[in-house]
Amino acid sequence: MLLSIIGNSIVIILVLVGLLFFAGGAVGILRFPDFYSRLHPAGKLDTMGVSMTMIAMAVYSLLHGFTLTALLTSLKIMLIVVFIFITSPTATHAIVDAGVRAGLAPWAKEDSGEEAP
């Protein structure tokens, strides 16, 4: 009983923290001034939000009986976390790289109020 309460609270806390990261990422994408700085929340906070919520799911699948099936499910979810943790920042890096190569200048404080050249 106590174990279930502790497990459930861990799941709830992880999901809430993950959602907080997602919310921060969404606000950042909307509020930041230019392409590069918008990729910053898109890359970092989404990765963290996905990781947190996925870990919460991995814990949740173990809560209802610690069986081999449940263990396999949570292992698979943890694998998803690992792959997202590797690929999502790489994708952001690739997009930034493409932006730099295409010649998009980063936003600077002097030309605030205007479109980035």
Binding site: F83, I86, T90, H93, D97
Partner: protein
């Protein structure tokens, strides 16, 4: 002439829309499909084919003809891209770029001039060449084997979970395209060239149709896998399960090869000299 075309389209479209009114209602329990077909599949598929996944049983056993011609459609798409896009004659370009790897110097060689010798020091590069990005390259090198392994899992696990030949083949093709994207076209053409991909595309369809013909030769109907029981061992019901797996592998090979083939033709505008 155009007015006739328009009239034909309008007439056909109108007829189609008019006759949709005759269809049974969405989810109608009294429609023919729900009264005998679906209950039969639901009740008998596990006994007939030993496949727990109903969708796979219907797709690759009861409706095997459909799936065979779906594979043929995929193959035809690859062939169509080949005929539409592939440039028949590879023109020698006006100038070629070579990169001296130890120094990083790029040489521009005009048409007709002497090209550098084939050695590890020189490599031919695309006209829109960009330096290799270490991070992206390493990440993809890390991921491609896992994606391919997952593709094989999806193909083999179609009996028990969502998956099967089409999905697994697409994932495998996507892994190869990811490799081509992170390296370049000539690099991936070295791994799997155009002839190989075309051959694989055709042989995938051949595996499917060949299984059907083998059943025919063994004295059963086309694609009736129970005839394969003496070859595969086990009883006729297990032969259905194995037969589905063979067919799925054929589908996966065809889909994978066609994906790669279409990518090659699209990425290089049919010239296969340089591209992403």
């Amino acid at each position: 002439m155009r007015i006739f075309g328009l009239l034909t389209v309008l007439l056909c479209g109108g007829l189609l829309i008019y006759h949709t009114a005759d269809f049974p209602a969405w989810g109608d329990p009294a429609s023919p499909a729900s009264t005998h077909l679906s209950p039969y599949y639901i009740e008998h598929s596990i006994d007939d084919t030993m496949v727990p996944n109903l969708v796979t049983a219907v797709l690759a056993d009861y409706r095997s003809y459909d799936t065979m011609f779906e594979t043929v459609v995929v193959f035809a798409a690859g062939i169509a891209c080949f005929f539409l896009l592939r440039a028949a004659k590879s023109k020698t370009p006006e100038s070629m770029l070579y990169r001296h790897i130890p120094t990083g110097i790029t040489l521009r060689i005009e048409k007709g001039s002497k090209t550098p010798p084939d050695s590890a020091d020189f490599e031919r590069i695309d006209s829109v060449w960009v330096p290799y990005d270490l991070i992206i390259k390493i990440t993809c090198r890390l991921l491609v084997p896992f994606i391919q392994l997952f593709a094989l899992y999806v193909v083999a696990h179609g009996h028990h979970s969502p998956g099967g030949g089409f999905q697994g083949g697409v994932i495998f093709g996507a892994a190869l395209i990811l490799f081509a994207l992170t390296h370049n076209l000539s690099n991936s053409l070295k791994r799997i060239n155009e002839k190989t991909s075309a051959l694989f595309a055709a042989s995938g369809v051949l595996v499917y149709a060949g299984t059907g013909i083998l059943c025919l030769l063994l004295g059963a109907n086309f694609l009736d896998y129970s005839a394969l029981a003496p070859l595969l061992g086990g009883d006729p019901k297990m032969a259905h399960s194995h037969g589905i797996l063979i067919v799925e592998i054929g589908v996966a090979i065809a889909v994978m090869a066609v994906m790669v083939w279409i990518y090659y033709n699209l990425a290089s505008r049919g010239r296969h000299d340089e591209g992403l």
